[in-house]
């Protein structure tokens, strides 16, 4: 088994699905010849040719809108949007068509599309390059939304996403593209969409995180090593549909619940998850469900971003507060 990073795991999933299925195509701004600005698609054009792996004009609506047509006519497009903040230029097509076509046509046209893009901050980038879009995508009926936190999950989730009969938004936490390697099987395997993972079992509090925040939560747990707190850490992996069972089962055991999200607070995914716990595990609760989030501000530029991003210390402090409520 090769030890690879998250970015390489994505590349491998694309490569193997393209080799296996001639209807899979990969495209986006600079995604062809150059292999994308992060090099996620590097080498694919050389291997599969310019018709199946290609650069597009700077036209996000054409990227997402063409995917709709391609899928109607038998392809499985994997479309790349270069950065999270650019998604909005192609968002209309995602929301008004991609998500609705199956329902609109009463099942005549399901659209097996994957839209991939890097998300989140932490690379000291320009404006519009550090956004967290879970709410924008998770709120839309008809979309499935996934976000991996490890190379292993990145490959397995992407393979499931490409094979899925419905549109899947595949968000890539860019700050961990190259940080951290893991053994990843050479062959094709699948991580089911809609299934969370218990990263670490525990009995005092359930902490739910996803994407890059899983590692921040792990760091927080390390900070609490001498505090005698047993944390159950769950990696959500799929933003929609939420693995309710995994969360409820855990909260029934721990009685305490904390969400860690990088996204801004108001109407964020944490609000949805806390509602879920209130609706379905209220009588098991020992403390109010709560969340650690980004603030309700525009993501600051590099010199201010540390104020906005959720740090392990904040998570650790919140865990202590909930456990000692």
């Amino acid at each position: 088994m090769a030890v690879i990073n998250l970015l390489t795991a994505i590349n491998q999933a694309l490569d193997q699905k393209m080799a296996e299925d001639p209807t899979v195509i990969v495209y986006g701004e600079d995604a062809g010849y150059e292999g994308g600005v992060f090099r996620v698609t590097a080498g694919l054009q050389k291997k599969y040719g310019e018709e199946r792996v290609f650069d597009t004009p700077i036209s996000e609506a054409a990227i997402t809108g063409n995917a709709v047509g391609m899928a109607i006519n038998g392809l499985r497009p994997v479309a790349e949007i270069q950065f999270d903040g650019f998604v909005f230029a192609g968002y209309t097509e995602i929301v008004t068509h991609m998500a609705r076509y199956r329902n609109r046509s009463r099942g005549r046209y399901g659209l097996p599309i994957v839209v991939r893009f890097p998300v989140g901050g932490g690379i000291r980038a320009l404006e519009h390059h550090s956004e967290s879009l879970e709410t924008f995508m998770g709120h839309i009926p008809g979309l499935k939304v996934v976000i991996p936190s490890t190379p292993y999950d990145a490959k397995g989730l992407l393979i499931s996403a490409i094979e899925d009969p419905d549109p899947v938004i595949y968000m890539e936490p860019k700050r961990i593209y190259r940080s951290g390697k893991q053994e990843v099987p050479e062959e094709i395997y699948r991580i089911p969409i809609g299934k969370a993972k218990v990263v670490q079992p525990g009995s005092d509090i359930t902490v739910v995180a996803w994407g890059a925040m899983v590692r921040e939560a792990e760091k927080a747990i390390k900070l609490l090593e001498n505090e005698n707190i047993s944390v159950e850490l769950i990696d959500l992996r799929t933003i929609n549909p939420i693995d309710e069972e995994a969360i409820i089962q855990s909260v029934q055991k721990t009685g305490r619940f904390l969400v860690v999200q990088e996204a801004v607070k108001t109407y964020g995914p944490g609000a949805e998850l806390m509602s879920l716990v209130n609706e379905k595990a209220f009588l098991y609760l020992e403390a109010p469900p709560t969340r650690v989030t980004g603030f309700d501000i525009t993501v600051p530029l590099a010199r201010g971003e540390m104020h906005h991003f959720v740090q392990p210390e904040r998570i650790a402090a919140e865990i202590k507060k909930v456990v000692r409520f």
Binding site: I25, E51, R52, F54, T56, P57, S59, A61, A62, T64, G65, N66, A67, V68, G69, M70, A71, I72, N73, G74, L75, P77, T92, E93, T96, H97, Y101, R102, N103, R104, S105, R106, G107, R108, Y109, G110, P141, G142, K144, P165, D166, G194, P241, I242, E244, E245
Partner: protein, 361 residues
């Protein structure tokens, strides 16, 4: 050849059959056989009857919001008739004549406007996409369909339609540009009916024609008399040959007029003069098409009367069938969001079903 002769930048407009029903461009008159012309004509008559009746049903409170097509017969049927069996039609929302011609049933069309998604579930083999309400976006869908056709060497052309108002939209430019870059087999019909709801064509763009927008995409563009079914057919035939042969997309502007309101919720007397409408009533595509058919000896007044009556009965029968469908089932509105219902959807559905079963509303 047609495209260089009718250069929109030189304000050229293709016309073959003028508003008096005279052939003014003999060498370009298409050599259509009687069977094809009769089919086109009958579809146009049936379409118009169904269009007028839909408006009447709406006025009677039996139909919901409806977007009338009257005046668009030549633009749409001239286009649909020029298509090959395997081609795709990607409509906007005022396109039912073409949809009908391409194999969508009248029952489906009425069912859609009656407020039921099953009206967009077309039969296997019918290469038409559902009504598209988001203006401009259909260009990208058509381009994507064309991309797949090209990649899989399927010899298909994607034909899409948009209005004059739609050409202001970003997706029109993005889609046409994208299709141009990849030489995709796409033909875009602009039905310039002079108004985007109430906004006149002159307020949509400073460009003198909409066909000339092709210049910036690096593709051919042509303006035709959109009330002249022969001109539309000839331009479309050439456009589709161009696209099919791998030379890339073509933009065809059909100059026409929306004789009815934008939708049944619209009052066109607020923004256009009766005198203007009267001018265009005289240019009605059906007047000249009928005269052409009679002059050719392919049609008679008696046949007209009989076929109008037949169409009227048929349309009435279809509508009564649609009316009888009533309200949608609860499961219907849940079931097609994903291929398989998510646990959340199953729970929401089951909960509401139980609530209804206990007499809730």
């Amino acid at each position: 050849m047609l495209f260089s002769k009718y250069d929109p930048l030189k304000k050229k407009q293709l016309q073959i059959l003028n508003e008096k029903g005279e052939i003014v461009n003999k060498e370009l008159e298409p050599k259509l056989d009687k069977e094809t012309l009769v089919k086109m004509y009958k579809q146009a008559v049936l379409g118009r009857v169904a269009d007028i009746k839909a408006l009447q049903y709406q006025r009677q409170g039996r139909m919901l919001t409806y977007a009338p097509n009257r005046g668009h017969e030549a633009a749409q049927i001239g286009t649909a008739a020029a298509m090959a069996e395997q081609d795709w039609y990607i409509p906007g929302f005022r396109d039912f004549y073409a949809m009908l011609y391409r194999g969508v049933t009248l029952e489906q069309i009425y069912l859609y406007w009656y407020g039921n998604e099953w009206g967009s579930h077309f039969d296997e083999g019918v290469r038409v996409t559902p009504v598209n309400v988001i203006i401009g976006s259909q260009i990208n869908h058509a381009s994507g369909i064309a991309y797949a056709s090209k990649l899989m060497k399927k010899n298909e052309v994607a034909v899409t339609a948009i209005g004059d108002g739609g050409t202001s939209h970003g997706e029109f430019y993005e889609g046409m540009n994208f299709a141009g870059v990849f030489n995709l087999p796409l033909v875009t019909l602009v039905q310039n009916n002079q108004y985007a709801i109430s906004t006149p064509r002159a307020k949509a763009t400073k460009a003198e024609t909409l066909a000339q927008k092709a210049v910036a995409f690096g593709i051919p563009g042509i303006q035709v008399d959109g009330n002249d079914i022969l001109a539309v057919y000839v331009a479309m035939k050439e456009a589709m040959e161009h696209a099919r042969s791998g030379k890339g997309p073509v933009l065809v502007e059909a100059v026409t007029y929306r004789l009815g309101p934008h939708t049944t919720s619209d009052d066109p007397t607020l923004y256009r003069e009766d005198s203007e409408v009267e001018i265009w009533e005289k240019k009605d595509p059906m007047i000249r098409f009928k005269k052409y058919m009679i002059d050719k000896g392919y049609w008679t007044e008696e046949e007209q009367k009989a076929y109008e009556e037949e169409s009227d009965n048929y349309v009435g029968e279809v509508f009564r069938k649609v009316e009888a469908t009533g309200e949608a089932e609860l499961l219907d509105v849940f079931k097609y969001t994903y291929e398989e219902m998510t646990p959340q959807l199953i729970e929401q559905y089951e909960t509401h079903k139980k609530f209804l079963e206990k007499g809730g509303k």
